[in-house]
Symmetry: C2
Subunit: 409 residues, 2 copies
């Protein structure tokens, strides 16, 4: 007998019929002899409605009260799913974040988990009941409701799997697994059977919206056996996210991601001397703006140069006004910004041991006439910034060049 | 400086604009120098939607999980109202039932309040913040969410006013007070300035849906200064519900109520001997069916008689099947039922000191050709059962006969 944590996202519990369908999936796992803890999101659309109410009340609404409002979405689902399980003869009990309790820090609307008490849940399991847990929510030391940020139910599920030492954590969603790239752009995109934590982490943070990044971090840290599967298939295989050691046939490149929410800023004519980039990036850090790629061009006259960096598109106008205010302090001649760009990334643990990947990448792009604006790399990733209009073309070209449609590319 | 509990019902908080309007009403009370505790219901329609979800999941849904689901409605409102107050510069904090805590017994979906901890709320007030409390909900000794039954937010507000020793408890609703009778039937129905707890209790339990009956019981027990006022007026006067001693000019008759959810059962040919009525009413009590009026006709032959009683229409079919099963044990010849009847009641503390009320009542009804089927009386009430089709006519006739359109009738 194993212990399985099953997590069902918003579309999987989108209406009462789908909730009944989820109950059947839980029962199937029980009938197979396993113990099950279920984690659920709010019914699709509910959280957006609640957020809209908050925005209608005030532009600068309190994040503490926002958490009180939006956490109700998951509470509705746990009650309904517990009922649906009982209707199938499966004893079940709902658990809110504060009932467990799921203790977090005080960062309203993006809290981090400090501790999860497991006594109550374990007693519930021991009594033969399925605990149905509200994802996304917790309680802080002051007894106030907190939430973990959008997509936080993934993190709730993985954290529970870690503390309960579950044998498996299955994330049920509306896609049937993790793909080599977005199947909407590339028809022969291939579902991956296995992908490493590190690769998934890059994919998640680079915009593959299958799993919340923090959930993958947690899974890696606690070696949770994580699986992404479809709610709408009968015997889903899905994609297993696991340790590199557990993958026998490693692929060089696992996936290609495309992120369009990027913007680029170029400071023209900054002084080529120490301290200038520190001034720029300090200002950004203090405003909580995440800088990604940074490129400083060679200084032809030895005294002035151009500095380019990328940042989330949503932060662009804020960044520009900060840079404008600090113009004298930083010292630059002009500022150029561009929000019409996309970041394309190749991801794969195989890069560690294979050379020539970057070269093949640039060749494939140049053959299609795509200009690479900036480049950044990590041990298992190469990212390039290109004009947004070439995004799909670039992804398709790279998918073909690396033969990702075939296993063992 | 006084302490005021303000309660706002579902229509008063029906959308985000109305919630902002409620915030203005709270601010007005603060600006007048008072401390305020606010109690709110779910936004109009939300509770019905949640109940429908439960019904879609299962016909026999767990009432414990029902409480988890429906209590979310009030939680949304407290968060939004706290935000709206903050937007007006009024410090505010939301409080769920479990955060206070509002401790109840274990009767899921119709829990009764055992205890309310006031330390947290008092500290909140002391810190200059308006506590915005979720009505309708509590927590039982096992840490599970409970609800107080439909309309329970009235009871939450009155109970809070009692334990906080508030100077006033204002129930804001979509009507501007308590009327001598339903203004939809009688054009010249008059709004009452004051009505006694006992009269209001009769009116509430007889179908005037302004206040939940239990809230009036509580107000009477703890002598809470209760007021019903309109959310949609600027300087509402409303109706004050208070002790008889606090009403100088007492009216003989305060109101006329009409309840259509009544049914009548007649057992024909029951034996006229002790123990028969006990058998009937025991069976009803065991099935939790509330019997109201009881009439046993004279026994012409000294051995057999007819027994008539009324009960809520919703319980009729259940009652009939119980009586059918017990036919031999009870011993009756035939059973006649009628769900097409209405109960009309005259209510007034003045009845205690005035005679001839019943006579005037029957005269007014007979002048309109309305046949009185059964009668029941209490110290401050006379009720008659009539054919449902005469209900409006009867109410109008009585309103005129007792000149309820005029003060000091």
């Amino acid at each position: 007998m194993g212990l399985v944590v099953q997590k069902f996202g918003g579309t999987s519990v989108g209406d009462t019929n789908r909730i009944k369908n989820v109950a059947l999936k839980v029962k199937k796992e029980i009938d197979a002899g396993n113990q099950v803890v279920v984690v659920v999101s709010a019914m699709a659309g509910v959280t957006n409605q609640l957020v809209q109410y908050c925005q209608e009340i005030s532009e600068n609404y309190s994040l503490e009260e926002y958490d009180v409002v939006v956490s109700t979405g998951e509470q509705v689902t746990i009650g309904l799913l517990a009922m649906a399980l009982q209707a199938l003869g499966v004893p079940a009990q709902s658990w809110t974040g504060w009932q467990i309790p799921f203790v977090t820090d005080n960062s309203a609307s993006k809290a981090r988990i400090n501790q999860i008490e497991v006594e109550g849940l374990q007693a519930c399991l021991k009594a033969g009941k399925v605990p149905v847990v509200a994802g996304f929510q917790g309680i802080n030391a002051q007894g106030r409701i907190t939430t973990l940020g959008r997509g936080g139910s993934d993190t709730s599920a993985v954290a529970l799997a870690a503390v309960l030492k579950a044998d498996r954590c299955d994330i049920y969603t509306d896609v049937d697994g993790v793909y080599t790239t977005d199947p909407r752009f590339v028809k022969n995109a291939r579902k991956l059977d296995r992908v490493t934590y590190e690769e998934m982490l890059e994919m998640a943070s680079l915009g593959a919206k299958v799993l919340q990044t923090r959930s993958v971090e947690l899974a890696m840290k606690y070696q949770v056996n994580l699986r992404v599967v479809s709610s709408f298939e009968n015997n889903p295989v899905g994609t297993t996210i696991c340790d590199e050691r557990d993958i026998v046939e490693k692929e060089i490149i696992s996936g290609i991601t495309c992120c369009r929410d990027e913007a680029k800023i170029t400071l023209v004519g900054v002084q080529d001397k120490p301290g200038v980039s520190a001034a720029v990036f300090n200002a950004m850090a203090q405003a909580n703006i995440c800088i990604d790629m940074i490129v400083q061009s060679d200084s032809p006259d030895g005294s002035h140069t151009d500095m380019t960096f990328t940042l989330p598109e949503a932060d662009l106008s804020r960044a520009l006004s900060i840079l404008d205010k600090d113009k004298e302090h930083i010292g630059y001649r002009a500022i150029i910004s561009d929000s019409d760009c996309a970041k394309i990334s190749l991801i794969g643990v195989g890069m560690r041991t294979h050379t020539g990947i970057a070269q093949r990448m640039f060749k494939a792009l140049s053959e299609k006439g795509i200009n690479v604006q900036t480049i950044s790399t990590s041990e298992i990733k190469i990212s390039v910034l290109i004009a947004a209009e070439y995004a799909e073309l670039a992804v398709r070209a790279l998918h073909n060049a690396f033969h990702l449609e075939k296993k063992e590319n």
